[in-house]
């Protein structure tokens, strides 16, 4: 003890680190793993499906998970007219529309970020179109492009544009004045400022926009394929589900729906993976 009289310096030895930091149990660590917890959710839902369907005992209206999986396997392995073809068709329309839509959204955003009238244009147009589902303009695209791939891509493009444009615009708007000043301080301006400072800074919003763009587009696509497939007898996953219903291949209908959901989950997984190595790592997303 050191005691100069008017104060005391406490002389407690520092603790052993192994005493203060204890690892948690492996079970608890597993529970903290998001992937594990989500798998658990899927497992529970799958079990509920399987046993629910067995209990209902109505294979035509509600096939069991196992029957559905068997139908899925058969559809994928079918030598002629396999499910892979339908998946490919859907992904083609979706990715074309997504790329085109994102391009258009980028131009709209650049216009909106740089001019006040551009901002007015974007906000007014998006508010006006917000209540309108993309499928609602399908009759127009039928008139302009006929019953064709172009019609479908037009709709997927359309469905991508507004969610992406709005989110990216909000993202740019949200970049702090300080960060803009910092970029200009380094000598960045115009496009180099956008590419090297604004886009990375707005990445969380951009990701949100791309996500909702993809899912909006995918939803419109599936609905559309059901309509257009009835006229042409061809198309993607939507048409697969519809045509299997017409053939009364009910487990295959469920397999098609399951397939749509799995693709949606895969997209989500890709986004999450990308986020983990970017914005999450940089502390821009918690």
């Amino acid at each position: 003890m050191n005691d100069p009289g008017h104060y005391i310096i406490e002389d407690v030895p520092p603790p052993d680190l192994t005493d203060t930091v204890k690892p948690i149990s492996p079970l608890l660590r597993l529970w903290h793993n998001a992937v594990f917890r989500r798998m658990l959710v899927i497992l529970v839902v799958a079990l509920a499906w399987e046993f629910g369907a067995r209990y209902a005992d109505s294979p035509l209206l509600f096939p069991t998970l196992l029957d559905t999986l068997a139908a899925l396997k058969d559809s994928l392995n079918a030598p002629y007219d396999s499910l892979w073809g339908y998946i490919g068709e859907s992904l083609k329309s979706l990715s074309l529309g997504f790329v085109l839509g994102t391009l258009v959204a980028s131009f709209l955003t650049i216009f909106a970020v740089n001019t006040r009238i551009g901002e007015d244009f974007l906000s007014t147009i998006t508010s006006a179109f917000a209540p309108l589902p993309a499928v609602a303009i399908f009759p127009l695209s039928l008139m302009w492009f006929g019953i064709s791939q172009e019609s479908v891509v037009f709709i997927t493009t359309w469905a991508t544009i507004f969610p992406v444009a709005v989110a990216v615009f909000q993202g740019f708007r949200g970049v702090s004045q300080t960060l803009r000043f910092v970029g200009r301080n380094f000598g960045l301006k115009g496009l180099s400022l956008t590419a090297r400072a604004l886009i990375p800074a707005a990445l969380p919003s951009i990701m949100t926009g791309l996500r909702s763009g993809v899912s909006n587009s995918f939803r419109a696509l599936v609905a559309l394929e059901m309509v257009i497939g009835a006229a042409t007898g061809a198309g993607g996953l939507g048409w697969f589900v519809m045509s299997q219903k017409q053939n009364l291949e009910i487990p295959a209908v469920w397999a098609g729906i399951l397939c749509i959901m799995v693709i949606g989950l895969l997209f989500e997984g890709l986004f999450i993976l990308f986020e983990r190595y970017t914005i999450r790592r940089w502390g821009m997303l918690h």
């Binding site: 000043f181 301080n185 380094f186 000598g187 301006k189 821009m284």
Partner: protein
């Protein structure tokens, strides 16, 4: 005591050299949707190489506006601001700025990348940029955090990175806009000492905006006092003419209360 400071430009010191930075009759006006505000009214002063010039004033006295104009973000509507004789027209890395906000670092780059980035953008070869970043990161005592991302750092550490980034660029002048105001008192005191040491080691020229009399008295080699509405320079004090920092602080306090009386 009254003779120890004087308003306006500094007196010639015998040796005639061009000042590093000259502010001559600069009036800075900004326009909002509602009004046209004169933020700085006919400010004139020089900054010599190697100085730590403190610009002191209450909030609203135009000191940050003045810094932004020197930074090239605003143009004076009257008068001239010139660096090495050349009027300032745009922001540039010869006037690196350290801001108050802790989000001035790029969150997607590590400490080292943040320090290197302005150098790489402005033609410093990668190897040299790396070496210089290494030196300055060591000088601010952040070697262990060099590969961390900004969100993993404390406010004080982020501020050190910003100072290292500014100095590593070897700017003609380092502009600091109330850099320590948002930090806790202990950290602020440490960073103030560090800044003086770094500036003395590197011989950098620093223009430092603050509203804190003690900070101005502690750090400056010259102190400019501004008054608000409109922002005007009221005094320009050469710190070397004062017997002590306490003496300087007392004088500054006196000037500030005189200014307030006039305003009231």
């Amino acid at each position: 005591m009254a003779g120890a400071f004087h308003a306006g430009t500094s007196e010639p010191q015998g040796i005639v050299t061009q000042p590093l930075l000259q502010v001559q009759g600069a009036t800075i006006v900004y326009e909002t949707d509602l009004a046209r505000v004169v933020a700085v009214w006919r400010a004139s002063f020089d900054v010599q190489r190697g100085e730590r010039l403190m610009v002191l004033g209450r909030s609203g006295c135009g000191k940050s506006t003045l810094l932004k104009a020197i930074g090239g973000y605003l143009k004076p509507s009257e008068g001239v601001i010139a660096l090495e004789g050349v009027p300032i027209t745009a922001p540039g890395p010869d006037r690196m700025v350290v801001w108050q906000d802790t989000d001035q670092l790029l969150p997607w780059k590590t400490v080292r990348q943040n320090v290197m980035y302005p150098m790489l953008l402005n033609g410093v070869p990668r190897a040299e940029a790396h070496a210089r970043a290494q030196d300055f990161i060591a000088m601010v005592d952040l070697e262990r955090a060099a590969d961390h991302y900004p969100h993993q750092l404390s406010g004080g550490m982020k501020m050190r990175v910003a100072v290292a980034r500014g100095l590593a660029m070897r700017p003609a002048i380092l502009l600091m806009d109330e850099p320590f105001a948002a930090l806790d008192a202990l950290t602020r005191g440490r960073l103030q000492d560090e800044l003086v040491r770094l500036q003395e080691e590197t011989g950098a020229t620093v223009l430092f905006v603050t509203h804190d009399i003690a900070e101005a008295a502690r750090l400056g080699t010259r102190v400019i006092v501004m008054s608000p509405h409109p922002g005007q320079i009221k005094a320009n004090l050469d710190v070397s003419r004062f017997a002590s920092r306490e003496d300087l602080a007392a004088t500054i306090s006196g000037i500030i209360s005189d200014v307030d009386e006039v305003a009231a």
